[in-house]
Amino acid sequence: MSVAKLARATIIAGALTLLVGAPAIAQPAARPASTISSADTAWMIAATALVLMMSIPGLALFYAGMVRKKNVLATMAQTLAVTALCSVLWAAVGYTLAFTGHAPLLGSFQRLLLIGLGMNSISPFAKTIPEALFMMYEMTFAVITVALVAGSVADRMRFSAFMWFAALWLVIVYVPIAHWVWGGGFLARAGVLDFAGGTVVHLNAGVAGLVAASMIGPRHGYGSDNFAPYDLSLAVIGTGMLWVGWFGFNGGSALAADSRAVFAIVATHLAASAGAVTWMALEWWTRGKPSVLGMISGAVAGLGTITPASGFVLPWQGIIIGLIAGLVCFWSCTWLKLACGYDDSLDVFGVHGIGGATGTLLVGVFAVRAVGGTAGLMEGNSVQLLIQLYGVVVTMAWSAMATFVLLKAISAFVPLRVDKQSEIEGLDVTQHGEALQ
């Protein structure tokens, strides 16, 4: 099978890269400290704080607000534990493998355990801020991507199995894709545009979530029991924090306090708004009532979809992209999911997967040369759409395949799912020994 071949080739290539990448240690990335801009540093610290806030407490709330009472704390625990565990792993091996070296498939070991990271170090990817800040900023992206996946398997995945998954998935799935797209890897060289993570973050998490949800199977009672969220107000708070934090996510991806950051932020905000309005309108029209869950779903759909496009388009195009996001993600969450029958608990695939893919393709349509340096279909550069499609396909393939293999491997040691009785009793008590009163 060609997939298997590709996998093998990739693994071998990865191994080679490590060898090839190693000599790069000799070339220090650090450059004269004088290029560090206090203003860019000021903004990027704030952006880093904003992105961390997206995970904790943002995503923790967003997810926990959509589950049943018995799983609220367990859902929060997943985000919390991922933040802690993956941060350490990112500093230890993730950053160096994603953002150093010149190999097409994987980075080098130049910054293993952050060795050599000094006060004056600067990454070639962010020349006006300290490298430590760039490392940290990218860390928050890694963390939230892993945490996003948890939504698909909420309410039933065993905590220990999820911890193994999080650690390994970070290194095996996230790090390579980050390197390919953002770390000078083969997708970057092919010209794939992804400003803040349409492929690396959202599509990647969505596909992994879909694979995981399919492998673990639907929740007990899916389709018959009432799975209404216990406390949607938590999800609304979480949405607010995600929305605000996304300014750091997309705006910070400009890596400077400049007009491009501002354009990214404005497009982001308008896309979130348009997404929320669209989903609200669709629900109002199809069901007679606009739900709060629908509004926040639309906002997050808009946010996820604009992510890859944000630094490449004009602010008002954010409205168009948000509108498309609302339509497409509404369709995927209400129709596609039912049609295919998988139980993606919190619609990670439906919102982030579909949204990330849509957004990545829309970069190829809407990209404006004056904003991000590259033109899209609308400005006559039709090939960019194909390049974007290439990025989407590669991301989906690797994410799906590697996630599948990884979960299979883990399940050989730890059951992925809690037993039925524990699932019914709730993960809060059975996994963590505590519960909401």
């Binding site: 389709g223 209404a228 069901r287 869950l293 969450c333 209400t334 129709w335 999911k337």
Partner: protein
């Protein structure tokens, strides 16, 4: 002694309490319950799914009274809680063998 148990619509609680106080009943215990009956619940929209919510919020009132008062209490609750619309609820009258007031140890009618 009778225990009058009434299941009513939540927004009728204040009316029922006032009516009972009006006829001299000065003690009651209420519980938030959920009821299933002819009144069909609403449908909740959940991303990609609709769930019929069959159990609707109700208030369960318990009032212990002397056997003589029981009919009056039942009638009072009945008329105060009535909207005439489906889901108004039920009243059950159950016998009590003994009643005790914990504070004083008084029993039966004195304990109410």
């Amino acid at each position: 002694m009778k225990l009058v148990i009434a299941i009513i619509k939540p927004f009728k609680l204040d009316a029922v309490r006032d009516a009972l106080v009006g006829i001299g009943v000065h003690g009651m215990t209420i519980t938030e319950v959920k009821g299933y009956g002819r009144q069909k619940g609403h449908t909740e929209i959940y991303r990609g799914a609709e769930y019929a919510v069959n159990f609707l919020p109700k208030i369960r009132i318990e009032v212990a009274v002397t056997a003589e008062e029981a009919d009056n209490v039942v009638e009072t609750i009945g008329s105060a809680a009535k909207t005439g619309q489906i889901g108004d609820g039920k009243i059950f009258v159950v016998p009590i063998d003994h009643t005790i007031r914990i504070r004083t140890g008084e029993t039966d009618a004195d304990a109410l």
